[in-house]
Amino acid sequence: MKIKQIINYLLVALLAIQLVSCDNKEAIDSPFSGTPTERLNAKEKELNDLLMSSELGWKAVYFTDNTQLGGFTHLFKFKDGKVDMASDFNNDTSIQSSEYDIILGSTVSLVFTTKNRIHLLSDSNSFPIASLRGKGYLGDFQFLYYGQENGEIIFRTSRSFQEVRFVKAKATDWTDLAQSRLMVPNVAGATTRPLFRLLEINDGTKVSQFDFNFTSASRFATSNSIETGSSVTNNIGIAYTPTGIIVSPAVKVGSQSLSAFTYDAATGNFNATGTAGVSASIKYSTKPLVLTDDFKGVVNGPRLTYAYINGDLKGAQTNSLLFNNLVAAAKATLLPTQDFNRISLIFNDPVNGTFIQYSFTGGKGAINHYLIAKEDPVNKTIKLTDDGWSMATPPAFLADIDKQILDPAGLYLKKEKFTIRYSNTIYTFTSASSNFRMTTYAL
């Protein structure tokens, strides 16, 4: 009897549960505004409307990886699946048309589906530095939509989650692209300016200096503190503007971040100003920032040879334009079959002492210029003076090069950290009073 009762109650309970089982679940308040599908659809529409909403299109300065590359300015104008685009990737700043799509993946994203300017950044076969072989400029052309902020569209790239912001473009932005290209040589450094560059930052009380080495191809500059014991770096990616540059990451000065630098045509400097006396400047210097002691022991030591070998060092970045021009001008006076083979600086030869040897290809005999060498420990230079030639009349075609090597102000000698083609140590000789710099192997 008891068990029967229990079963009866259970049955009633079961029935009761069934009756309420299909109660309306919608009554539970959802924290979201709709179903996931509805929300994704809404986002998709929002992005598409947003892209088309700007009458003059959008501007984005795309830093693909600001630890090794600079920024590339792109302009976009969207209209019903078509996009007009221009960029400052190279001198072709014309507007080109292609297609775009808004697709659903992990989130809503914008994809440039047929070829246009932005794809130049993700060409495996076009890379600015050897370490990026197969990776191009690390560019992406699928941008995940992360919302809006102050009228800007925030995207993150699909591959590396770099933030890219689309800012409403002005009419001038479209014409500015060609103007920014004119800034390129100013950043690369005019050959008429001094050979050395530095980044100087002033936090209002103290000035700190960093060396500054810019690589045009990657639009990136490395910048290390010159203070002994300091490991502070200010490596920056650079994007060109009509009036100067934008850098990323921003240069930190005290608590302020400076990212927009203005070009000063008179000095060739790029200046950024903060508040309360804070400033940063990329400027030129006639003297190396750090004078090395590499000159010591050369003049009065064992026999040493430093040779510029034309076949291997012609393209060395550390050769200055003045040096390259002088060599080219001298070569132009030779027979077409002849060229420079080596320009060697030989110190303390047991027979000939110290001398420059100019040797040639194509059957032309070598020419020696004998010298007297002295150290200048105060200015940290080596000074070379004339002590006769291996021929009666000094050859006129070598006079200009020779004059630079015999600069009365002396030559700075620097042991470089890189090598070129061979494992031999590279030394550079730089004139203390002109833009002459020659790259040599220590042999």
Binding site: K4, L11, L14, L15, Q18, L19, S21, C22, T35, T37, E38, N41, E44, G81, S98, E99, D101, I103, G105, V111, F112, T113, T114, K115, H119, S122, D123, S124, N125, R133, G134, K135, G136, L138, G139, F141, Q142, S158, R159
Partner: protein
């Protein structure tokens, strides 16, 4: 008995309640996803007429992030280049097989999808991937932006991709004589094939360096080399081989390939080569 009846009634009632309990749901509405078909361009229609409808081959030329390796730095083709490239494939590959093996051959054994990529697929080792075949279903062509129909060597290089990858697809349908193939140059295979130049590979009994990667690639490279070259061009390649052993190896591999085409598909490989050669000349000269 009474109790049992009661339970029966209860069970019946409960079943009725169960069945009727959820009838209040609204009827299904249309999908919330946007299913509208985008308007087709002239190019899309051309692809439908020439690839999709006759061969059931889909062509993806617009970027689809899911169809390519996301770790590679590639980009979509220039739109105006798409049709010329597909015309070349149609003329030299599809038409040659149709001429020799009948119109239905490729329709029956075909990749289901082509993916076009505009740029070069350069590997960090410095090698270049010209094409990919995935599971016999999808063939990816790289460098379509660089195809130049007036340049014979350029066309040959591009066509090698489809010829090579299609041979893999044929192999997946009917296997080739792997045992015999493996005994010809058994020690020459290496995963570091790219350290060998084509010229050195030739003296080791391989038509290309890539053929050294494994016997499947060796088979495909042997067949593709025969198909992309004219009879005279192929003879001149063999003419440069100095080592008699290497020459004999290549000839043995060629024999296996020829036999495979004949036995498996009743195709005369040399006729197929001549058809491809005629069609290649047609493309270059027109």
């Amino acid at each position: 008995m009474k109790i049992l009846n009661k339970y029966k009634k209860l069970a019946l009632l409960s079943a009725v309640v169960l069945l009727g309990s959820c009838t209040g749901d609204e009827p299904l509405k249309e999908s919330q996803l946007d299913l509208t078909v985008k308007p087709k361009t002239e190019l899309d229609n051309w692809i439908d007429t020439n690839y999709l409808l006759p061969y059931n081959i889909n062509v993806q030329y617009k970027w689809n992030p899911n169809a390519v390796d996301n770790n590679r730095f590639l980009y979509p083709p220039i739109q105006s280049k798409v049709q010329p490239v597909l015309e070349i494939v149609q003329k030299i590959w599809l038409k040659s097989y149709a001429d020799v093996a009948g119109p239905n051959f490729v329709k029956n054994i075909a990749p289901r999808e082509f993916v076009l990529v505009g740029g070069v697929n350069l590997n960090t080792t410095g090698t270049i991937t010209l094409g990919l075949a995935e599971g016999g279903k999808r063939i990816t062509f790289f460098e379509t932006d660089n195809v130049d129909k007036r340049n014979r060597s350029n066309i040959k290089r591009f066509l090698r991709t489809i010829q090579h990858e299609y041979i893999h697809i044929l192999n997946q349908t009917k296997p080739f004589d792997e045992k015999s193939m493996a005994t010809i140059t058994p020690t020459g295979y290496s995963s570091a094939w790219y350290n060998t130049t084509d010229a050195v590979a030739l003296e080791e009994g391989f038509l290309t360096a890539y053929a050294k990667s494994n016997i499947n690639e060796d088979f495909a490279e042997t067949a593709a080399t025969i198909l992309v070259n004219s009879k005279a061009e192929y003879a001149s390649i063999l003419g440069t081989v100095v080592s008699p052993v290497a020459l004999a190896s290549i000839k043995s591999k060629e024999a296996i390939v020829v036999k495979y085409y004949k036995d498996a598909f009743n195709i005369d490989l040399y006729k197929l080569r001549d058809a491809a050669e005629n069609n290649t000349n047609d493309v270059i000269n027109n």
